[in-house]
Structures are given as structure tokens and as C-alpha cells.
Subunit: 339 residues, 4 copies
Amino acid sequence: MLVVMEKNATDSEIRRVIETIEAQGWEAKPIPGGERTAIGILRNETPVDPGLFLNLPGVKEAIPVSKPYKLVSREMHPEDTQIPFGNDGRVVIGDGHLHVIAGPCAIESESQALKTAERVKAAGATFFRGGAFKPRTSPYSFQGLGKQGLKILEKVREETGLFIVTEAIDVESLEMVEESADIIQIGTRNMQNYPLLRRAGQSKRPVLLKRGMWATVEEFLMAAEYIISEGNGSVILCERGIRTFTKHSRNTLDLNAIPFLKRESHLPICVDPSHAAGRRYQVAPLAKAAAVMGIDALLIEVHIAPEQALSDGPQSLTPDDFTALMGDLRSMGLPLPSL
Amino acid sequence: MLVVMEKNATDSEIRRVIETIEAQGWEAKPIPGGERTAIGILRNETPVDPGLFLNLPGVKEAIPVSKPYKLVSREMHPEDTQIPFGNDGRVVIGDGHLHVIAGPCAIESESQALKTAERVKAAGATFFRGGAFKPRTSPYSFQGLGKQGLKILEKVREETGLFIVTEAIDVESLEMVEESADIIQIGTRNMQNYPLLRRAGQSKRPVLLKRGMWATVEEFLMAAEYIISEGNGSVILCERGIRTFTKHSRNTLDLNAIPFLKRESHLPICVDPSHAAGRRYQVAPLAKAAAVMGIDALLIEVHIAPEQALSDGPQSLTPDDFTALMGDLRSMGLPLPSL
Amino acid sequence: MLVVMEKNATDSEIRRVIETIEAQGWEAKPIPGGERTAIGILRNETPVDPGLFLNLPGVKEAIPVSKPYKLVSREMHPEDTQIPFGNDGRVVIGDGHLHVIAGPCAIESESQALKTAERVKAAGATFFRGGAFKPRTSPYSFQGLGKQGLKILEKVREETGLFIVTEAIDVESLEMVEESADIIQIGTRNMQNYPLLRRAGQSKRPVLLKRGMWATVEEFLMAAEYIISEGNGSVILCERGIRTFTKHSRNTLDLNAIPFLKRESHLPICVDPSHAAGRRYQVAPLAKAAAVMGIDALLIEVHIAPEQALSDGPQSLTPDDFTALMGDLRSMGLPLPSL
Amino acid sequence: MLVVMEKNATDSEIRRVIETIEAQGWEAKPIPGGERTAIGILRNETPVDPGLFLNLPGVKEAIPVSKPYKLVSREMHPEDTQIPFGNDGRVVIGDGHLHVIAGPCAIESESQALKTAERVKAAGATFFRGGAFKPRTSPYSFQGLGKQGLKILEKVREETGLFIVTEAIDVESLEMVEESADIIQIGTRNMQNYPLLRRAGQSKRPVLLKRGMWATVEEFLMAAEYIISEGNGSVILCERGIRTFTKHSRNTLDLNAIPFLKRESHLPICVDPSHAAGRRYQVAPLAKAAAVMGIDALLIEVHIAPEQALSDGPQSLTPDDFTALMGDLRSMGLPLPSL
């Protein structure tokens, strides 16, 4: 239920609606807008009777919200969410630019990270990604450099000015990541790791939430709802491929989801063609396809020597491939930002 | 196995290779190229020993072909297949242009067809589609106008100059369709209807083969192989969405398949976002995404009054929507042809 | 809509309901029952107003049928369908016995067929299966012996008394199959080949309809509806595995579908674990699992020399494996019939 | 790589092999067997050269292990793993009995838990399940009673003698669960929550690991490998349905996986038809089907008043349904144990 106030509703009228909601044991979530205030009702297990509110002074309407998600929904927050970065907030995800987040799957060494970062920055990326904590299918695979990887990422930011995206795999690593990174990534396997989502919701850092490879778009939005319901509204939704019966790619990039997410939610949208493809030759064509759909960010894996990568080498672009892709995106007229 | 001849191989040397192949009970498929001839070996159930050929005069090499498909493969036919239409052959699918095939799911009346055709032609379509024979999930649904629908399609061509694409659902309807249409469509449900594929392979008309919604790309190429193995090399591969666990769209458009098909096969590629989406608002964004991947054709459902359509109304664009989409494609610099 | 008559409704009252239905351009399908007659309404594109019938003499109620399928539904036909075989009709699929249909994927020779048939009969099978017309993914694979295969199957019946099941792949082969076989099989790839389904609906032979590996259970029932709507009510529904993301089996046997089909439909149910598994070691465990769910038939591939089979060898049981499986089923107390 | 020692190999010969392995930076995992010792090599990123070991005294052979999983594999541990419970260890999962784990989705109150426990015990269950920590798709849904729920579960054990299974959703809850429960459940959404798996591997309690609804069987075994590689070999593999395109059930129970898992792994196997079905009427038929495949445990949701359940009511059996199912399993001759 969304209680929409009159344009000229007074503060005390708004307060009374909030008290009425709380008297039922529910939570009131005021959503200030340009013209008028609306108040969302959360934590109601059963449908809400609009009659509770319609006779209160200053109330214009009470709109039942049929979707299971609320805070992520355009019904509650019609304008696009914008997420500013840096001291001056000049770099914004969600302002109509197409940001490119690039870097290796895993941080392997300072030299690998810095060399890659210089190349992707020169090509036009604004964010650098690289995993310090890696969720790997095998317990015997490289699990990331951990804390040391975060130090390297900080150095990358210092030396290049690129903003940093890196993954947290549990509450412990999240507490380290939020100290070092500009965006906390929650990976596909953790999309329904609810304790981790709740903790990310208490962070001051924006969160890049990857869709579970098995998740419906409703479940994806509900995972974002977990984060926002704890107070952190800076969530970027990242489509990265779903598991299907096909074998010519690691996963199938679900671009049907993009118009759905843009219509249903106000959150910025990122697409990761690298993990969906799992094969280098598919990455650039898919990146271009996603880019023309009006998304806010692309996430592209780039490695200076893919054949030596400790993880995900076969899908990483070389810096040269990446530079060519960025040139193509630019010549297609896409709104790439500059740092 | 592909037996590649020397550049200056004589006709009698080529003949001798063919006889050697046929003496084993296999079929020889000479593939004349610009520079040299290669000869494919078909219908061998077991691997072929290259030694059979390497000592014959005029033979350069004998290349084992590891893929189950042969005639559809770039290994056997490196250049893109081009399919000309019309008396002068000026309109070509596969020459680098992006053709747009548009029209209603089903032909419902002459007036509906002509009105739609005029609008899609004005907007820049070069082909008109519309079903006269409809494969419908329910025996109680509208099954198409049949022969009468074909007459209407002929009239559309006469009056507008648009080329005609329409579906055949069995050998009987195919024999009517090849009389009336410029392209025979084989629908998703018939992708593994082998008697129908064989008969299409004996037709003089190009075939638009839709991928089965359950089919791997290898199975898709093998279906095309059925058609070509009967002598008809004019096959257009059409990706139209696969069945996955998601519910926000009717099917999931598998754009990962496009770079795969372009790399593996020389056949022209079409994408049908309308059937993949099943919802109007997803069609234009997906059409643009597919268009920038370097495909040869888009297939878009357009209906003058979608809310009255006898089938697939919810996914059909209005003529105004379609005109806007064509404008967007043009302003993106995509190589739309003109009639 | 189902118009249910009073117990003592007269013939002229029933006739009047039928005329009322036909006057609307719909089709009336009287369904005589033990106690009372019900009349189904088919070919209505829009919902039917119950008021049309409720005031007619002899009408008890008019029940809206919400499912897209009608004739296959228990709502229209509450009792289980029973399908008798042979001159005396003593062998019945649907009477509570568990019939086992066994034999090779393809008929390769008379000797192979007869040897296999003797072994499966000795072990307790009542039906023999084997393909004369094979739908193969590759145009270069063995396509079956055709007419000659049917002759061999007739000989098998003559010599062993086993009833015969074999596949039709188009109208032409169906017309040969219905002359030779006791059950016409429609394969998974043809589940939505509507012209073939319609023709099967005009046959006097029972039809074993395999579920499309991509088909929902609703689509599966609609395919059966096509057959029954043409007059042939003897349809056996065969679950044979669906396509999923897994790789440890060719397909995933969907046993969740069995209680659904038993509840929704009155048609007998068969399960084919061989094609679902694609690996011999999974066949017997899955056969036992399906058997205890109260199904009417199992379809098991058996080959005298699987390693030499021209198709599907890896999933075929040897006659010894099959005999052991039948022993297990018997010792589990399952109601295996005898010829 | 598995280094297999001679039957009469001495301790010092074994030690030398271990030192050779460790000198390479790998980990040696001695696996004592009845007759001879084998030594597994872990944490090698690249293939191991057998020549390193074949000339050492006491070495019989060096077997390359091709599978990504090792400790879970029958190659390394041919005999079935048995997991004893209770002080006397008389109750064993993996000894050939079919244990039934029953109870509500969530613990809602002491009275609900005790009443259900009495009924499922009377019907023959040996383990009681119920969630104190619930991973819920919506942040606004009931999240479980937490610590208080564990107290109720302890009381259930005290009063009924049933062993207790309950889920941990993060390291924090795992530390509470291992104090209270006999088996720690890791749920489907956490199958690739590697920090949680590692922590479970350091626990002394057996772990019931549910397959991710998106996971291949290889990924499932690798998740178990994470647990065992930390030292906890008491893992029970639980198939609970995978996500497919179908809609007649919540998920599709993948019974093809059972023979695969039994062949590949020595770990006990459990099947959960309740979550796969999501609909009550499918649960008992699927439970019977799974039971005849030779599994070690069934997990069945039972609620005293499903229509009032705070979660998963529609799939819960009533105590009467459950008693009937247990009677059926007993009359099918399945080896149900007694407490």
C-alpha cells in the first residue's frame, strides 16, 4: 500500500498517517518527492484496508501495491535512482551515461592490476573491477589475495583515479571491502544470501548486485529489496546470464530482462556479458547489444595476459580487444562519460 | 572430411577424387570456390582415412571435419551465403544490409494485410510476413485462412512490391507456399520435422528456418543441414528465443547464439524479437540490440489493431510503433536497404 | 462449458441442447456417462454464457471449464480411459496393470528383431517396440528400414504374439504404420506437428503420444486434445524427459508430471526412462521409480547387442539387464500382466 | 592423483610418499583402507606426473583422478559412508535403512513443534526437522524464531527421542545450530556459500547439504568437497528439485541424479520431494518413487495445520497424510528403521 498525500499536505498530516501505520505494527516509509509526499507501508503480512487512510486529512489516495517488491519499484519511486561517486559527485551512475567497469576476474599481483588499470582507463573505463575474495567452485582453486588484494585496489585508485568495484563473499569480507572499495559487489551465488544482503543494506557504500544465474527477475528485485529495506538505496542491478540448456555459452544473457527491469524499477542497470558468455569472441557483440538498450553500466573482464589468468581467462578480453570495443561503443554514439 | 584440391587441379583430377569417394559408398559434394575446388564427403558413418586421397594427383590436403554439420559450416564454405530476390536480384539477404521482415502473425483479411503492408513498406520494410497456415497450440483456435491467405499475400506483393514470407506446416502446405511466397518459413515447432525439412530442401525457394525453442545451436545447424543436403542452399537461420525458467518473457532471446552462428556458419542470420518477447514493450529494445550484432534480417510482428488480432496480439507492434523503431534503427546508422 | 443433463433427461431434451449449441456456430460433443449425459461445447472462441442452457428442460447445470483442454480432461470424462488390444480385448492398457513395452530403438534386421522380441516376451513384456521410420538429428545417420521394417514387425507379432508399437513421422508413414502396428507412436519432436496429430486422430489405432522435451504439461494435453478432437479417444500419454540445464543425463525425467497428469486427465500414462536417461545405468532405477507411481505402461529400450546398435545403443538394456529389471518389478509386487 | 600403496607397504614408505607430495607444495590426504593405504593429492593446480611416485618403494600404482572432486568420490573411498547418531550409535544413516526426516518448514511455537513431532514419531520418522532460521525471498516474510526455535527443537528431542535437523544460514547461526541439532542443514540457496561450507567443514556435526536448484551434480559434489576438505566427512547429499521451464510443480525433482550420485560418491543420499513439488498431492507419489531407488533418507514436510503455516503450507502433508505415506512405504517392503 502506498498512501499518497495531497500536494499541500502539512507535516502534521503526514505524521498522522505515519502514526496510523505504526499503530498497526507496520513500518512507515515516507518517500519525499518533488511535488508531494507518498508513504509506503512495509512489513504488513496481510493486505491493507485503504479505508484506514482515505478519511485522514491531507490524504489523496491509497494505492494497493500488487508486486511483492516495494522499495525497488517505480510505483514507490518513479524517478531513476542516481548514485554519485567521488568527492565532487561529478561521476554518477544512473544519470544517462554508460559507465564501463573493467578489469580482471581476480587481482593476482600489483603489477597485473596496475598495468590493466592503466590500459582500461586509457580506453575510457571509469571503474576498475578485480576480485580480492573469490567464490570458486573448487576448494582447491585460487581463492583470491584477500586483504592484500584490497590494498592493491586502493593503490589502483590512487594511481589512476578509477573508482573501485570488488566482491564481498561474507560479512567479514564485506567489512573489509566497504573500507577499500567504491562499490561492493554481491556475486551471483550470493544473490539469496540474506544475512549478507542485510549487512550490505547497512553499508554506506553502493552495492552492485548480480542476478543469481537461477533467479527470476522478481527474486532479483526481492534481493535488492533486502538491501534497500535496511536503509541503503544505492543498488545497481547487474544482469549476468542465466542457466539454460544451451552449451555454446556458459550462461545465456537475458536481455529480455532489461526492458522489464527498466520498467519495474528505478535502480540503475548494469550488464555483464563476460560471465554470461564464458568465451571471448561473444563478449564484444553482446556488450554492444546491451549498450544500445539504454543501460547505465557495462562490466567487462579484461586481463593483460588471459592465457595466464588464474581464473576466467577464456572469457577475458585483452587490453587491445577492450580498446577496440570502447572505440566501437564511442563511434556508435553511446554516451560514454569521462573521469 | 574435406578434400582440398590444388589451385591448378584439372577436371579429371577432380573427377578421380569424386570416383574414389563414391567407390566407398559415400557421397561427394564438390564445392567450387574462387581459387580452388574442395570436395566434401557426406554420408560416411565412420571417420574417413585421409590416406585415401593424399596420394591422388591434384590433391592438396584432406581436412577432417570434426563438427556433425558440414554443408552449413564455414569450414566447407568460407564466404557468406548471399540470397538474391526479385527478377533483377538487386535485393539480397546476406550482402551486409539489415533487412526488416514485418507483418501480422496471421493473415486475417485482405484489408488487414494490405493496410499493414502499406504501413510497413512506408517505414522501410523490404519483406512482408503473415501466416496463412498457423500451427496453433489449441485445436479450437483460428488455424489460418489457408489457400485464401496465400492469394492475399500475392496481392500484397503485387500492390506493394514487398517480398513475401509465409509459413508451411506440412508437405501439402509447402507445395502451395512455394508457388506464392518468396521465402518459405519453417516454424519453431517444425525445426525437427525431418520430412518437411527434406521437402523444403527440394524447393527452389529460400527457406527461413526458425530455431526450435528447445534446440541447441548444433541441432539448429543440423536442421539446416537437412535442407541443404537435399540441394537447397538458400537457408536463413532465425533465432527466436529459447525456453528457459523465466516468466517475464515468453521465451529468452538467445543473443549468445549470434556470434556462434556467424562464426560457425556461412548462412544469413535473422532475429525475431517478437516471439521471444511475447510482450510489446520488449520488442523494440531487443530489436535494436540484435541489430547491432551484424545480423542480416529482423523479423517484427506488426498489426494494425493488435487488440483485435486473432493471434499474438499482445506482442505485435502498431504501425506507429514500428515506424518509430525503423527511425531509431536508421538514426543508429544501421544499413537498412531500400526496395 | 459442460452442460450436464438431469439423470432422467429425454433424448429430445438432449437434442435441443445440441441444437442450441450448434446454432451458435459451436460444436456439441455429447459424452454419455453411466448415470447421466453431459454435453461439451467445443470451438467457442469466447466464454459461453451459462444462461443459454440453464432454462432449457432437462438441464441440471452448466459448468464453465477453465482449462484450455477439454476432451482429455477428467472434468469431461471422470473415469480412466481403457484401451483394449487383440481380438478378444483381454489385454487392456488402462485397466490397472503395468504393461511393459520393450524393444530396440530401430529395427535393423529380422534376426535382431525376432531375437530381441523372444527375449523381452520371455521376460514378461506385452508390447514390442522398434522404429521403422527414424527421426534422426543428422541427415547422414541411419533413417530406418521403412516399409521393410514394418514387415519385420508384423512377423514379430505373428511369431511371438506381442503387440506392436512403432513410430510415424509424417502422414505418409502413418498410413503405413496404422496398417501394420497395434499402436502408432508420435515422437517427442512431432508433439506439436499438428497436421500429423490430426491425421492420427482420424486413425482407428491407439496413439502413444510422447511429450515434447520442451513442452509444458498443458501443451502436452493440448496435443492429445488435437488427436481426440478428430475422433480418436485412444491416446496414451508418454513422459520421456524434458530438456534442462543438467548434463549427467540426456534429459530429466519429469516425474512431477505423473501425479499432475493422473489428476487432470483420464488417459493412460506411460513412462520412458530410456530416452530420458540416455545412459544404461540410470534406466532400471528410474523404471522402478516410475512404476510405483501407478502408471499404466513402461517403455524400455532393449537391444541384443547395444554396442552394435545403429542408434541409441548407450541407453539400451541388454536382454539380461531387462530380465533382471522385470524380475525386480515382479518382486516389488507390481501388477505385470501376462499375454 | 591417487597413489595406491602395496598391501604390505611400511609406515616409512607411506611417509616418504607424503613427503614427496608435500615437497611439491601440495597436500597429502592418506586414506586408510581395509587392505591397503591410498594417498590422495590435493591442492595441485596442474596435472601430476605419476613418474614422481612409481619408483618409490611400496608404491603399487598412481591413478590419475579425472574428476574435479576427490574426497567425495568413490575412487578415493569405495565403501559407503555411514553416519552414526546418538550415544550408542545404533541409528546410522548410510547403513541400508531408509530414514525419514519429517517436520514443519518453520518452527512456529513449542506446541506446534511438539504436536507434529509426536505424530511423525508415531508414524515412524527417526529425525525431526524444522527451521529456526529461515532464508525467505521477501524481507517482509517471517524469518524464523531463531535461538528460541532451537530451544524448542532441543525440547522436541528430549521429549520424543527424535534426532534434530535444522538449517544454518550463516556462520553465526551455524554456531548456534551445531550446539542444538544433530544434523546441520545447508539450504539450496547456500549450496555455493563457500565461507559457510568451510565453517560447516570444521564442525563435528553431520551436514545435510541441499543441492542448489540451479546446480549441476558436479557442482553439488564440489560443494560437498568443500565441507570434507575441511575435515568433516559426514555429509548427506540431498536432492530437492531443480529449476526448469515447467510450471506444474515448483521445481522438477531430478531423480536421474540419484543413480549418478550413488555411482560417483560414497556419501549417503536424501531426497526431498516436498520442496521439489510445492504442491501436496505430488509429495507422496514422488516420495515412493525416490524410496525405491535405494536412497538413505527422505525429507518430508509435515504440518499439523498446513492452512495456517507461516511458510510452505501448500506443500506440507498433514499428520494423517504422512501416516498413510509411511504405511505405504512399509507395505512396499522398504527398510524403515525404528528408534
